[in-house]
């Protein structure tokens, strides 16, 4: 290999793997105006269900009846249901749902693959995260953001109130792609660190060599409500490759020689579609809300689709 070729290849690797643009303009005035509009729209979409408080599964001192349970020594007599004692001769305690603020966790995948190509996937993920976080903050929910790769990389402490959106912006601006993807391990750490359950919005390209299912299952098994936003770039489905090439995985560094022919490209497209379909089916069968975010689709249109898809807010 000639010197020129080596330089060209090394440059090519750098540009392909880390081509993210600067994030100074990521949350500009125009973006913030859109957030206000989205916050209003989200209220209209979920009218009657959003009163600045959320019903939780916790039972306690709320006013809404939730369930009965048997009396245990030490329980407060005030909650004994005497009507039931009269009819069934059993001491049952009335349980009421507690009303509390909702915890929303945004898990942003910041692995190397998110910066592939022009780096648009990571930028798009940040904007989605910011928009949804604003809606959450505007509804007085507790919002927490973590970035992951093969581990939890950065964490923004829980916060609430619309005014904290700038904190969100600052945090997201500092996110940079690095490392390999291992959502399973990373989210195990996450659930261990966050005892309070809530809505876990996973924003990722789901390029996990260990399998995208692991991460989602970790959330499910630990009683988080997972919501998957799958960031995709259509150019990855139709790569501009031809001839003898050395494929280089920008995350793992794996290399593979291949001669790309139209036939090979067609098979790759089939495989890619199958992969997307697997994700879709996995989420559907497990009642995990799933939204595919194509970076070529305008950002606000995608957010509306998230609202309509439902499940993001209860």
């Amino acid at each position: 290999m000639g010197l020129l070729e080596s330089l060209r290849n090394s440059f090519s690797r750098r540009s392909d793997a880390g081509g993210s643009r600067g994030d100074e303009d990521l949350f500009d005035d125009d973006f913030q105006r859109k957030l206000d509009y989205l916050a209003i729209v989200s209220r209209r979409v979920f009218a009657g269900r959003m009163r600045a408080e959320r019903r939780t599964k916790k039972t306690g001192s709320g006013v809404e009846f939730a369930d009965h349970r048997e009396y245990q020594p030490g329980d407060d007599f005030r909650y004994l249901d005497w009507n039931v004692y009269q009819r069934f001769d059993k001491l049952l305690l009335r349980l009421f749902e507690e009303e509390e603020d909702l915890a929303i966790y945004f898990i942003v995948d910041a692995s190397g693959s998110m910066a592939f190509g022009t780096g648009e996937k990571l930028r798009y993920a940040k904007r989605i995260c910011a928009a949804l976080a604003y809606v959450g903050l505007a509804n007085l929910d507790r919002v927490c953001i973590v970035s992951t790769s093969d581990r939890v990389m950065m964490r923004m402490a829980e916060t609430r109130g619309k005014a904290r959106i700038f904190k969100v912006f600052r945090f997201l601006r500092e996110l940079e792609s690095a490392g390999t993807t291992d959502l399973g391990d990373a989210l195990k750490t996450f659930v261990a660190q966050h005892k309070r359950r809530g809505l876990a919005v996973l924003i990722s390209d789901l390029y996990d060599p260990q399998g995208f299912e692991r991460g989602i299952n970790v959330l499910r098994y630990n009683k988080f409500d997972p919501f998957v936003v799958h960031v995709v770039d259509k150019t990855e489905e139709k790569p501009k490759l031809f001839g003898d090439v050395l494929l280089y995985d920008c995350e793992t560094g794996d290399e593979r020689e291949v001669t790309v022919t139209p036939k090979v490209l067609a098979r790759f497209r089939e495989e890619y579609e199958k992969y997307i379909h697997d994700i879709d089916r996995f989420c559907a069968t497990r009642q995990v809300p799933y939204v595919r975010a194509d970076v070529s689709v305008p950002f606000d249109e995608l957010i509306l689709r998230v609202f309509r898809r439902g499940g993001f807010l209860r």
């Binding site: 790569p239 001839g243 280089y248 920008c250 291949v258 098979r267 790759f268």
Partner: protein, 644 residues
């Protein structure tokens, strides 16, 4: 197998180096372009199937390398110019004599015979065998090889393109001797004559040509026979009226059919005569055109068919002649009075006569310079004049010849009738009362033109220094000569003899001969203006410009004192110019009927054989073709992703 190009060792070395380079390039070719991807497991699923075919892929790559090496081997092998040993040994050596004589301009075949001949030779060139060698020579009045002996087709075709038709006849014996000399000690030598066959016998002053072991082949060109040509053409001025002239011309029908022709005579470019003639097959028709006028310089004869068509050889339909240039001769007559002399000199208007007495001559014109001719009538100066001189009855020590004993009633018993001063005269019965015997200086080259009784010269010509003289040994008054027509003729002949104005028929030069044109200057080189335009430098030897003329038409020779170059000819002023004409005038060359068979040295020339047009028996061509084919195959398979 023999390598006619590079040797085996050299080829092996080249293949080794180039092969290593190819393998190196091949290995480099395997370095692939690195392309980043976001998620390799997707590709791995596809490439699992590919892994199964890795061995086959390697084999394909190996096949590709082998293809490259095979390509290289073919090219290197071609560099060696491999030939079958038998082919090399049996290579022929050919001398092709292309007839470029006048008859090859015949248009009975399109466009003309010479072009057809050249096409025949071109076909032979393209059919040359790998070991064959050929030399192409133009055969006309001489033989001119147009290139070296070569097997290179492009070189031979370039040589063939140089063949140009001439207006001369072919010197066949000379061409054959050249060919046999070229093929001396050469195995499988072959002479190929490409001609219409009108070459005459292979015989010259050295005897018949012997071909030896050389094979003779003949390619006959042409099919027509119909032709009428001008075979003689000359002109003369009349001695007594030089403004008029007489033309002698001969027309020959060399074809097998009767021909009606129109003969035009042009003087200075204008038609002076037009005649219609009918010629029977093979007829030679001489024609005299007396008493013509209207031309002062050039005369041309042209033939055309009455029906407006052209015959098949235009080269002999046009003939050229130049009339001798006329100028006024200045004549000084030194006499006490001679009416006969004065009357005779008045006959020619082109004479400028000055008459003086002997005393005036001594006082004013003693040198005689400034005149072309001085006539001394019964006067003999002490010193000879610086001009040509006619002495009538010379006496004394100033006489150019010794005057001896007196003769009584002499006569012209013996006359040199070929001498120009007595042409057209009848002097045999001239009566003379008395005269003197003249004694010529034989050592000085004097000639006795007329003598009495065989031993007493009475009319002598010669030269002294740069000037000619004529001496008549009697006083014309003592004879009846002035009463005869011979008298003015004698005087005018003598003046013409002195001034080189000849009353003979003026013939042109013949094309195909070596011309020796007199040049009066001391120049060693002269410039010759050619009929078709352009000039040529010709050498001058012993006062004559030497040139092998092969074109009919008008020529002009300029022999200036200033050295001239083709780019800058000698200046006209002060230059010595000579004009002359040249003609084919050859009845044999005008006979254009092609000869189907050629016999030389008792052997009949065979047909040309062994030339296969478009097929070269050289292996390297096929190797190159194979290489090109392989390249195309590799290209096609590569782009169809078969060998990648």
């Amino acid at each position: 197998m023999i390598f006619a190009g590079l040797g085996f060792a050299q080829l092996a070395a080249i293949f080794g180096i180039a092969g290593a380079a190819v393998v190196g390039l091949y290995v480099l070719r395997l370095r692939r372009r690195t392309v980043a991807i976001p998620f390799s497991p997707l590709w791995q699923r596809i490439l699992k199937d590919k892994d199964a075919t890795t061995l086959f892929s390697r084999l394909k790559r190996l096949l590709s390398l082998l293809l490259q090496l095979a390509l290289l081997a073919l090219l290197v092998f071609a560099l060696g110019d491999p030939r079958a040993a038998a082919t090399l040994v049996k290579g022929r050596t050919l001398v092709v004599l292309v007839d470029a004589s006048a008859s090859m301009q015949a248009t009975d075949v399109s466009p003309n015979r010479l072009e057809v001949a050249k096409n025949e030779v071109k076909a032979m060139i393209r059919g040359l065998g790998g070991a064959d060698r050929m030399l192409i020579a133009q055969m006309d009045a001489m033989v001119t090889p147009l290139g070296p002996m070569s097997g290179d087709t492009s070189e031979l075709e370039r040589a063939l393109d140089q063949v140009k038709a001439t207006d001369a006849r072919a010197d066949f014996p000379r061409a054959l001797r050249f060919a046999t000399d070229t093929l001396r000690n050469v195995e499988l030598g072959e002479i190929v004559v490409v001609s219409d066959g009108n070459l005459g016998p292979a015989l010259d002053a050295s005897g018949p040509v012997h071909l030896g072991d050389d094979k003779l082949s003949f390619v006959s060109v042409g099919k027509g026979k119909r032709n009428v040509g001008i075979t003689q053409f000359s002109v003369r001025r009349y001695p007594l009226d030089k403004s008029r002239y007489e033309v002698m011309l001969e027309v020959t029908n060399t074809g097998p059919e009767q021909q009606d022709i129109e003969l035009s005579l042009l003087g200075d470019g204008n038609v002076v005569d037009l005649t219609k003639l009918r010629l029977m097959p093979g007829e030679r028709l001489p024609r005299f055109y007396p008493n013509l006028s209207g031309a002062s310089r050039t005369l041309e004869a042209k033939l055309a068919n009455v029906d407006g068509t052209h015959d098949e050889l235009p080269a002999d339909d046009h003939a050229y002649a130049l009339l001798p240039e006329r100028r006024r001769a200045k004549v000084l007559v030194v006499t006490e009075g001679n009416t006969y002399l004065e009357a005779a000199l008045l006959l020619d208007e082109y004479l400028e006569v000055t008459q003086v007495t002997p005393l005036d001559y001594v006082n004013k014109h003693a040198s005689g310079s400034g005149f072309d001719v001085v006539v001394f009538d019964r006067v003999t100066p002490a010193t000879p004049p610086r001009a040509h001189a006619l002495y009538l009855d010379p006496r004394g020590p100033g006489s150019p010849v010794k005057v001896d004993a007196e003769l009584t009633a002499p006569g012209f018993d013996k006359i040199d009738r070929k001498h120009p001063i007595v042409r057209f005269t009848a002097l045999d019965d001239v009566n003379v009362a008395h005269g003197h015997k003249l004694v010529p200086d034989v050592a000085a080259g004097d000639k006795i033109v007329g003598a009495f009784g065989g031993t007493s010269p009475i009319l002598v010509s010669g030269s002294r220094g740069a000037y000619k003289f004529v001496a008549l040994g009697f006083d014309v008054r003592d004879s009846d000569l002035p009463l005869r027509v011979a008298w003015p003729l004698f005087l005018l002949n003598t003046v013409n003899f002195f001034t080189d104005e000849d009353a003979r028929y003026i013939s042109s030069f013949r094309t195909g001969d070596v011309w020796r044109v007199p040049v009066s200057t001391q120049a060693t080189e002269a410039t010759l203006s050619l009929p078709g335009g352009g000039t040529e430098r010709v050498p001058v030897h012993e006062g004559r410009a030497v040139y092998l003329g092969e074109r009919a038409g008008f020529y002009e020779l300029t022999a200036g004192d200033t050295a001239a170059t083709p780019e800058q000819p000698a200046p006209i002023s002060g230059a010595n110019k000579t004009a002359f004409a040249a003609n084919l005038l050859d009845a044999e060359e005008s006979t254009i009927a092609p000869v189907p068979e050629l016999v030389v040295d008792g052997k009949t020339a065979g047909k040309v054989e062994g030339f296969h047009v478009g097929v070269r028996r050289e292996i390297w061509i096929y190797l190159l073709l194979a290489a090109v084919l392989l390249t195309a195959l590799e290209w096609a398979t590569y782009h169809r992703r078969i060998t990648v």
